[in-house]
C-alpha cells in the first residue's frame, strides 16, 4: 500500500503537459483498427456518455469522449429565475450527490449578500454534506463494481443507501433532491427522532464498510480488474485539473475541507486518505476510507447539533429569508415580506464571486455574477465530473477494452454534472 507521508510537500512546480492527452489518436501506421461506439446508451456508461474507441485487437489505441447528451441548459435556465427559485436547479445537476451543488450555490449567494449564517445551519449543512458524500460513494462503489462483474456488492451498498435516503426524507420530505439548504440557513428545523436514527446509521456504517472491504479487498478477480489499471500520475492529474478522490488516489494530499476550510470543517476531527498508485484500486480505497471518515464527521456534527437544540436554523434577515409560516396569519409585515420574496425575489448586490467546496467528486465550484437584480446574471458550475471525464483518455493509454469499463467507473463522473 503506497500511502503518502502526511506533512510531506504536496506536488510542487509544474511542467509542460505535452504527453497528457484528452484525446487518444491511433497511430496511422497501425493496421486492423476497429472503431467501436461505446454508448451513449450502454449500461456501463453512467448515464449517457459516448466513447468512440479505436481498438487494435483488444487494445485501446484511440479514444474520444463525446459528451453533451444530458445537456439541459441549467445555467441558462437559472438566469431566468429569481435566486429563491434557482436553488432547486443545482441539485439536479449532480443528481448523485445532490446537496453539494445546492450548497455551493447558496454559499455563493450568501457571499455576495454578506449574510451571517447561524451556527446551527452551518453544522446541519456539514452533516448533510457528509451524508451526501457517503451516499455518492455508495452509488459509485455499487455501480462501478457491478459493471466489472461483482454483483452482490451492489445490493450491500444500496442497502445502506436506503438508510441515508430515509434520513433525507425525514428532514425534507423527499428522498432525493431535498432542496434543504436555503439562502440564510436551512429550510426547516431538524425533526424529532432524526438524531437517534442518524446515530444508528453512524453505528451501522463502519460495520457496513468492513463488509464491503471483506467482499472486495481480497477478491482475486477484483484485484486483477483494478490493480495497476488506469494509472494516472500526480503530474498528469494536476495538468488535467483533477480534484477530490481521483487526485488523492494519485498521491496528492489536497482536500479543500482541510486546506481552505469552509462551513466548520476546521472544528471537526477527520483524516484525509491519500494513496499513491493512481490506479482504479487506489481510487476505490480512497473512497472507502472517506466513507469511514465522513461517518466520523457525521457523528461529531450530531453531537454539536444536539447541544444547539432550540437555536435558530436560518438567518433573521426578513429581506432575504422567508418569514416563519405561523407569522403569516398574524403579521401583515410578514405577509408582505413573504409575498415580495416569493414573487419578486430579493436583490443581490452587484459583483462576481467564486466559491469552491470539496464535493464527493472533487472541487465543486460556483461562479456567480450579479447585476444587483433579483436574478443571477450568470451562473457557472465548475463540475468535478467534467474534469474527471477529461482524464479518461490519459488513463486509458495501454488499456484493454475491458479495462475501459473499470476506468470510467473509477473516475466516478456523473453525466448530469458533466453536461449540465
Amino acid at each position: 500500500m503506497a500511502t503518502v507521508e502526511r506533512g510531506s510537500a504536496i506536488y510542487e512546480g509544474s511542467r509542460i503537459p505535452s504527453p497528457t492527452p484528452t484525446v487518444l489518436v491511433p497511430d496511422p501506421a497501425l493496421e486492423d483498427v476497429l472503431t467501436v461506439n461505446f454508448g451513449p446508451n450502454h449500461p456501463s456508461m453512467h448515464g449517457v456518455l459516448r466513447l468512440v474507441v479505436d481498438l487494435h485487437g483488444e487494445q485501446v489505441v484511440g479514444l474520444n469522449a463525446v459528451i453533451g447528451y444530458l445537456h439541459t441548459g441549467f445555467e441558462k435556465t437559472m438566469e431566468q429565475k429569481t435566486y429563491w427559485k434557482c436553488i432547486t436547479y443545482p441539485e439536479r445537476i449532480d443528481y448523485v450527490s445532490f446537496q453539494y451543488n445546492e450548497l455551493v450555490f447558496v454559499l455563493a449567494v450568501e457571499k455576495l449578500l454578506g449574510l451571517q449564517i447561524p451556527r446551527k445551519a452551518t453544522w446541519t449543512r456539514m452533516l448533510f454534506s457528509e451524508l451526501a458524500r457517503i451516499h455518492s460513494h455508495l452509488v459509485y462503489l455499487g455501480t462501478s463494481a457491478l459493471e466489472i462483474g461483482a454483483i452482490s456488492i451492489f445490493w450491500y451498498c444500496f442497502r445502506e443507501r436506503d438508510l441515508l435516503l430515509d434520513l433525507f426524507e425525514m428532514v425534507a420530505g423527499t428522498r432525493m433532491h431535498t432542496r434543504y439548504f436555503q439562502v440564510g440557513g436551512i429550510a426547516e428545523d431538524i425533526p424529532l427522532g432524526f438524531y437517534e436514527q442518524a446515530r444508528a446509521f453512524c453505528r451501522r456504517m463502519p460495520e457496513a464498510v468492513d463488509e464491503y472491504e471483506d467482499l472486495l479487498n481480497r477478491n482475486a478477480i477484483w484485484q486483477q480488474r483494478t490493480r495497476g489499471i488506469g494509472a494516472l500520475s500526480a503530474a498528469d492529474a494536476l495538468a488535467l485539473g483533477q480534484t477530490g478522490p481521483n487526485l488523492r488516489a494519485s498521491g496528492v494530499d489536497w482536500d479543500i475541507r482541510k486546506r481552505e476550510p469552509y462551513l466548520a470543517y476546521d472544528q471537526v476531527d477527520f483524516d484525509v486518505p491519500v494513496y499513491g498508485g493512481g490506479d482504479v484500486y487506489d481510487r476505490y480505497k480512497v473512497r472507502v476510507d472517506e466513507m469511514r471518515e465522513s461517518t466520523r464527521i457525521v457523528a461529531q456534527c450530531i453531537d454539536r447539533l444536539e447541544e444547539m437544540h432550540g437555536e435558530p436554523w436560518i438567518a433573521d434577515d426578513r429581506k432575504v429569508v422567508l418569514p416563519p409560516r405561523e407569522e403569516l396569519h398574524t403579521s401583515m409585515e410578514s405577509l408582505i415580506h413573504h409575498f415580495k420574496i416569493v414573487t419578486e425575489g430579493f436583490p443581490v448586490p452587484e459583483g462576481e464571486v467564486y466559491v469552491g467546496v470539496e464535493s464527493a467528486r472533487g472541487e465543486s465550484g460556483c461562479y456567480l455574477v450579479s447585476d444587483g437584480g433579483p436574478k443571477p446574471w450568470r451562473v457557472k458550475f465548475r463540475a468535478p465530473s467534467f474534469a474527471a471525464l477529461e482524464a479518461t483518455a490519459a488513463c486509458s493509454r495501454d488499456a484493454y477494452v475491458a479495462d475501459l469499463i473499470a476506468i470510467v467507473g473509477s473516475l466516478d463522473a456523473v453525466m448530469g454534472d458533466v453536461d449540465r
Binding site: 510542487e12 497528457t20 495538468a239 485539473g241 461562479y367 437584480g373 446574471w377 450568470r378 467534467f386
Partner: protein, 181 residues
C-alpha cells in the same frame, strides 16, 4: 503576493476576498505561463465566459423595469437599486487558477473581449483547458486560436448559435405547430 510581473496585466482587483487580475487578451498565454511557472498556479480549475450584452438595460434577463429603477406603472416588477457599473466589452473570460501547494492561493484571470475576438488557447499550459475552452466556444462563441480541436462540446456539431449568449432566445429551438403545416 505580488502580481506585478504578470505579462499584460491591466488591473488588479480585490473584492469579496478574491483577487482578480485583468489581463490584456493578446497576452493571456504569456500571463498564464508566467502564473504557472513563476508563481506556481499549477491547476486550472475552471474557465467561464460571461456575456454582458444588455448589462444594466431593461428586459434582457427577464427584467421588466426601467433601467432607472422601479416602473411604478407595472405591478410585480423590480428595478435596480442602482445601475451596475459599466463593463468595458461584451464578453468576459475568467480563468480560475489554484496554486496547489502548502502556500495555496487562488486567483481569477479576467479578459475582456468583443464578439468574435479570438483569444490564444492555454491548452499548452494546462491540458485540462481543452474541454473548458471547447465549452466556452460552444456556449458563448469565443474562438480560441491555436486550440487543437475546437469543436462543439455539449451541443450537436451542426447546432447553430451559442446558447448561453444573452441574445439567444430562451426556448430558442424553433417549434413548428401542426396548424402551420
Amino acid at each position: 503576493m505580488s502580481y506585478e510581473g504578470v505579462p499584460g496585466l491591466v488591473e488588479t482587483r480585490e473584492a469579496f476576498g478574491e483577487t482578480t487580475l485583468v489581463v490584456d487578451p493578446a497576452r493571456v498565454a504569456d500571463a498564464c505561463l508566467h502564473l504557472r511557472d513563476e508563481l506556481g498556479f499549477n491547476v486550472l480549475v475552471d474557465i467561464t465566459a460571461t456575456d454582458y450584452l444588455g448589462w444594466g438595460d431593461a428586459g434582457v434577463s427577464g427584467y421588466y423595469a426601467t433601467s432607472g429603477g422601479r416602473d411604478i406603472n407595472d405591478p410585480m416588477t423590480q428595478g435596480y437599486a442602482r445601475l451596475p457599473d459599466a463593463r468595458p466589452k461584451r464578453f468576459s473570460l475568467n480563468y480560475h487558477l489554484l496554486r496547489l501547494a502548502d502556500d495555496h492561493a487562488r486567483v481569477r484571470v479576467q479578459l475582456w473581449l468583443d464578439d468574435g475576438e479570438a483569444v490564444e488557447s492555454v491548452v499548452p499550459v494546462w491540458a485540462t483547458a481543452d474541454w473548458h475552452e471547447r465549452e466556452a466556444w460552444d456556449m458563448m462563441g469565443i474562438p480560441f486560436a491555436g486550440h487543437p480541436n475546437l469543436r462543439r462540446l455539449l451541443m450537436d456539431d451542426d447546432w447553430e448559435g451559442h446558447p448561453l449568449r444573452k441574445d439567444y432566445p430562451v426556448g430558442g429551438e424553433p417549434v413548428r405547430f401542426s396548424e402551420a403545416e
